[in-house]
Amino acid sequence: MGTVWFCLVAIMIAMYVLLDGFDIGAGAIHLLVAKTDEERRQVLASIGPVWDGNEVWLLAAGGTLYFAFPELYASGFSGFYLPLIIVLWLLILRGTSIEFRNHIKSAVWAPLWDFAFCGSSLLLAVFFGAALGNVVRGVPLDATGYFFEPLWTNFRLGEQTGILDWYTILVGVLALAALVMHGGLWVRLKTTGKTGERAMQLADWAWWVVAGLTALVTAVTFRVQPQVGENFRTWPWGMVFPLLAAGGLVAVRIFLAKRNERNMFLASVAYLTGMLTSVVFGMYPMVLPARNPAFSLTVGGAQAGAYGLKVGLIWWTIGMILAAGYFTHVYRSFAGKVSVDKDSHGY
């Protein structure tokens, strides 16, 4: 049962990365691809009706993690205290920027929020990447089952690690590059004119960074976290996940050349899915590895009571079917390229 929830939480986090990933990516490139007020409103309109729903995946995944693995929630969230609260501040800033920008037409109001939107999105991408890096690298958990990481120590992978070290920064930069590509392809898909052109150009450049860093990070990860290599040796079928990532990445290149907007975004989805599932596969059965492997939190050790997990499966399934329905409906009614000449009520 613990393994089932491990997979379900992983799916929810993956959904978060795929969906909120494109609007965070769109934010990170906002100032670069959109120069005029109209172009900036195009970028915002391309995520306007969906970004909030996308972010709900983070909350829903957090809640699910909470009840399925209470010990992991307690240990991980208190240990990553500072970066998590900083992420919350960035999410506040970002949400406010998106929602308030178009309330007032003024040469001092809109650019301020554009800058806040871009900056917070950019930093979020790096922080989320670094967070993933921390989980893969392992944290200084001890016998009490707790740890506390400062933002940085000496940037090395020793016993007393910080949130930021050379490895997690590397993963953070990869995450930023990947979301710039993902967001750029989304903006290309949803907008017309110069904005779309610039977004695709940027995604094209980002692709090379993503490809290079993916190779580098993958190679390094096998050294940083030995469990990953072990899992792929024990269960070779798991190679489908990295192959999906590689295939997706190659497909992005191919569809970029063909200028097939829909498929290049979908290929980017495949790449991100492959990357995340590879990590999850490589970590199992650990949910939070410790620098000292004896203290790692595992699926079995961190899971909640059996009854709660069983009953959760019932309502979770119902809830997800409903959510899938809403999302299909919202994305359908919002299909096609955006236009910015409507007022806020669709008139």
């Binding site: 809640g63 208190s78 309330h103 959760g312 309502w315 919202v330």
Partner: protein
Amino acid sequence: MGHALDVDRLQFAFTVTFHYIFPQLTMGLALLILYLKTKAVRTGDEHYNRAARFWARIFGINFAIGVVTGIPMEFQFGTNWAEFSKAAGGVIGQTLAMEGVFSFFMESSFLGLFLFGEKKLGKMGHWWAAFMVWLGSWLSGYLIVATDAWMQYPVGYRLGANGEIQLASFWGLVLNKWAIWQYMHTMLGAVQTGCFVMTAVGAFYLLTHRDEVYGKTFVKAGVLVGVIASCLQLFPTGDIQGRLIAQNQPVTLAAMEGLFESERGAPIAILGQPDVADRKLDNPLIAPNMLSFLTYRQWSAEVRGLADFPQDLWPDKIEMLYYSYHIMVGLGTIFIAVMMIAALLLWRKKLFEARWMLWLLMLCVPLPYIANTAGWMTAELGRQPWLIYGLMRTAAGASPRVAAGNAWFTLIGFMGMYTVLSILWLFLVWREIELGPEPGKLRGEEAALLAAD
């Protein structure tokens, strides 16, 4: 744990109090917007649609701040209250996760359609979107109140081998009787905030002789719904909540009422200042035998005072608890009086000309916010010294590794951000009120000036 505990408590109290300014309005407004949309569908009058659009804009601003300040609440269970999360996550994580899975997905999807899709959806489609936004926000309210209710009155659990609290009955948790009454009491409070805000804006338009057609609609809707909500707030929901506390948290009741000694035919203190060190109430203004009657429906029943309980079971902030409770009840009583008089004037068709009453309704606008906050403070301070009543003490729930200095860092950060958000909020909402329900329309002096040209 040391003194980090105090900062953890302060941070949660600060962030949740600030957060709740927004949901109490949006949950209340969701109902009132649905009322306006229903009127629009039934009468076919475009006036109601424009009125609904105006409130949807104010709703949107408040909802956005509610969302961004709400996310930190879920995370803080883990960041600052790790021991609590580790022990009880298997139970309260259920309701918190359900809130995300059932209500947040619903709200976020339909809010987009409600705010941006009026033309596309058509008349009935847009009514449905408004309905789903109402349903989603009220469902969210239930699941979060159920979480708190479980901490007040834990049911449906059993203790595991390592002392962790495991879920034993899903329906026990979800249909906790405490949750049901607390929910109704909370939602009525939210509806009153919505009503007072809508009434105040209406009164403002009437007093300043602008958009008077809308002013009348707003005042009427706010007063009609408000008079019902304010009465139900006292009876039965407030009354039953009080009796649940008397039965299950008797020491909390004694502290709320400022009752230090047990008494037969206990009086209720309307005013007075508790002196906890000397165990007495200074300058008491009391109604004899009322507390016994309200609690047990007998004029001479015995009510247990604080002295009857060991001091380590007393709530640790008795003065704040006492005042929160008295402010809540006092304001609740004022709301009933104000709404009753307004409803009477409305019935006699005199309200829109009774400028003194419009002034009063306009100036009442901060009061429901204060009452709702005081109500929550009563509930949460009254739960002390327990985090989960009878099961886990607050001191045992905090994160062991988060130092006071780190907690201060984040608390100060939240204070700064929320100060900026408050200013933006007041500015943007004021601007919408100033623009009015027909933003394009020229009015008063401007129109006259233009005509003169």
